[in-house]
């Protein structure tokens, strides 16, 4: 069910009509639409938004660590429709134990590096990604620095 603040937002209604089980929540806050999508449906919702709702651009994919809360990770997608001059944010919540989500590289090739970055710095795995390896850090690096339980300073002993 859509929350009240999204009842008059075209994008939210369209996604709800496309797949009513996909939308788990969301909000309209400070002029920005956020939709919470069930992780299993992310690729199909993204495909729908790209091909039927004209969101031709994927601005970025990133993550937020809500440690120690559960579900721990939020994967955040920023979509942009040039033609409609519209942006929408999609969010998927993943558990801390084994954060896995389907890659959206099949929808936008742009997702390639962004997902690699989220994999590198948060340890989130994207299934179906053609080349999922570290991008910023060396291949033999241990840990994922943007996780909240990773220290900001100090050296490994």
């Amino acid at each position: 069910m859509l929350p009240d603040s999204l009842q008059d937002r075209g994008v939210a209604l369209a996604v709800e009509a496309f797949d009513s089980g996909a939308v788990q929540g969301g909000k309209f806050d400070r002029g920005e639409v956020t939709l919470e999508i069930a992780p299993a449906r992310i690729a199909s919702v993204c495909g729908y938004l790209k091909y039927d709702q004209k969101f031709v651009r994927l601005s970025s994919v990133t993550a937020v660590d809500r440690h120690p809360a559960e579900p721990r990770f939020e994967v955040v997608y920023h979509l942009h429709s040039v033609e409609r001059k519209l942006r929408v944010r999609l969010k998927c919540r993943l558990p801390g134990g084994d954060p896995v989500i389907e890659s959206v590289t099949s929808v936008w090739r742009a997702a390639g590096w962004y997902e690699r970055e989220a994999f590198d710095l948060f340890g989130i795995r994207f299934t179906g990604h053609p080349d999922l390896r570290r991008i910023m850090l060396p291949d033999d690096w241990e840990g994922h620095p943007l996780r909240k339980d990773y220290p900001v300073t100090g050296s490994r002993v």
């Binding site: 031709v56 942006r87 990773y150």
Partner: protein, 409 residues
């Protein structure tokens, strides 16, 4: 070395996948210390003779963990981190970050602060485009353009120094307005520059636009179709050179850009030459914006009326108890930002710059993600260079105008 000994052998790495017949493919590592990469980018090229068969960019050599650093700085302190991301356009980064946090706070900027921000970010665009033009031409072999461009760039850096005390890492925009009052006499300094500048662009064009060597090296090189660019996440002048007039200053105006009269130049060829034409025309348009900002600069306050965010004037602080308390609180513990999340984009010289700022209600950002244009644009390297000659790789990556600090963060 004894007589008859063999010279030290040169080992050549060969590609893993080889064609069934014909010459074998070798691997060439271009970078990380290659002059044309303007930083530390490594391109792993698989070559068939002089033709690039496969190009794999390898980034991360300048990764400094800035996004992690944001999480342990107060909101105002973090402004200084943004300078160091795209170090050729520090004020654009300052602006985007400040706009994002101001959106979270619900702060409205007074007109002078907005116009001053517009004027200085457009000077930043000129600064950035001048460095790009100078170094891009240098890569392709036109030495003198570099000297011309850096002559004007020096004037812009002096203007920045006059405003902020710093030539490059300005941090001049702060959450809630500007860092300092605009200095006395800034109008004359900016006017001197902007009166002269269009003539300087003519000079650059005299050197390059009809230059046969320049045209030979750039026309038809590095072209990508528009659909691929959108799919790969390319933004900015590269996208506009492919024919799409996408510009956040027009599409999603911020900081009162809607009040300025300027055009968004586009081309359709999508090659290195078209990108050159787009950026040169952008310099002329930016100069127009600076001129309009200079002529119409509104009077009034240059920081927002928000005592819990903006530091009080020195005099107020010395005479009013309340101002002193605010000052103490802001300096020692920062200010709290209401819970929420925003994604703010601006048109940086390189394309769409976006700051995704998440607040948990405390005085430090919970998470900051920078959607930097260089990172998005660089993904198109493989598409742009595969099938081309190795000499054209230099021209192609030069036309992308990336900054490695912006890529790696």
């Amino acid at each position: 070395m004894s007589e008859g000994a063999l010279p030290p052998t040169v080992t050549v790495e060969m590609a893993e996948e080889q064609p069934a017949s014909g010459p074998r493919r070798m691997v060439l590592n271009m970078g990380p210390q290659h002059p044309s990469t303007h930083g530390v980018l490594r391109l792993r090229l698989e070559l068939d003779g002089e033709t690039v068969v496969r190009c794999q960019p390898d980034i991360g050599y300048l990764h400094t963990g800035i996004e992690k650093e944001f999480e342990v700085k107060t909101y105002q302190q973090a402004v200084t981190l943004t300078d160091r991301v795209d170090y050729l356009a520090p004020l654009s980064n300052n602006l985007c970050y400040c706009l994002a946090v101001e959106k979270l706070l619900g702060l409205e900027m007074p007109p002078q602060a907005q116009w001053m921000r517009v004027m200085l970010t457009e000077l930043t665009r000129l600064n950035s485009h001048l460095v790009w033009l100078g170094t891009h031409a240098l890569d392709i072999g036109a030495m003198s353009v570099f000297l011309y461009c850096f002559r004007e760039r020096e004037d812009i850096l002096r203007i920045f120094e006059m405003f902020s005390g710093q030539r490059m890492m300005t941090s001049y925009f702060r959450i809630g307005g500007l860092a300092l009052e605009p200095p006395r006499g800034w109008e004359r300094r900016v006017k001197d520059f902007i009166d002269r500048f269009p003539g300087c662009v003519d000079e650059y064009e005299d050197l390059l636009t009809n230059n046969r060597i320049w045209i030979g090296r750039t026309r038809g090189v590095g072209a990508i179709p528009l659909e691929d660019m959108l799919d790969l996440g390319v933004t900015g002048p590269m996208l506009r050179a492919a024919g799409l007039p996408m510009d956040a200053r027009k599409d999603e105006p911020y900081s009162s850009y809607e009040l300025f009269d300027f055009a968004v130049p586009t081309r359709t060829e999508s090659d290195v030459y078209a990108r050159y034409q787009v950026r040169v025309e952008e310099m002329r348009q930016s100069a127009r914006i600076v001129r309009q900002a200079l002529d119409g600069m509104p009077a009034g306050p240059w920081k927002a009326d928000a005592p819990h965010v903006v530091l009080p004037d020195r005099e107020k602080m010395k005479t009013q108890m309340e101002a002193l308390i605010y000052h103490f609180k802001i300096v020692t513990e920062g200010f709290r930002v209401p819970e929420g999340e925003v994604y703010q984009t601006i048109e940086s010289p390189r394309g769409e710059l976006g700051f995704y700022v998440v607040s948990d209600g405390s005085a430090m950002p919970y998470r900051v993600h920078m959607r930097t244009p260089s990172f998005g644009n660089l993904q198109a390297t493989s598409k742009m260079t595969e099938g081309a000659l190795i000499a054209d790789v230099i021209a192609s990556i030069g036309s992308m105008d990336f900054v490695l600090g912006d890529v790696d963060r």
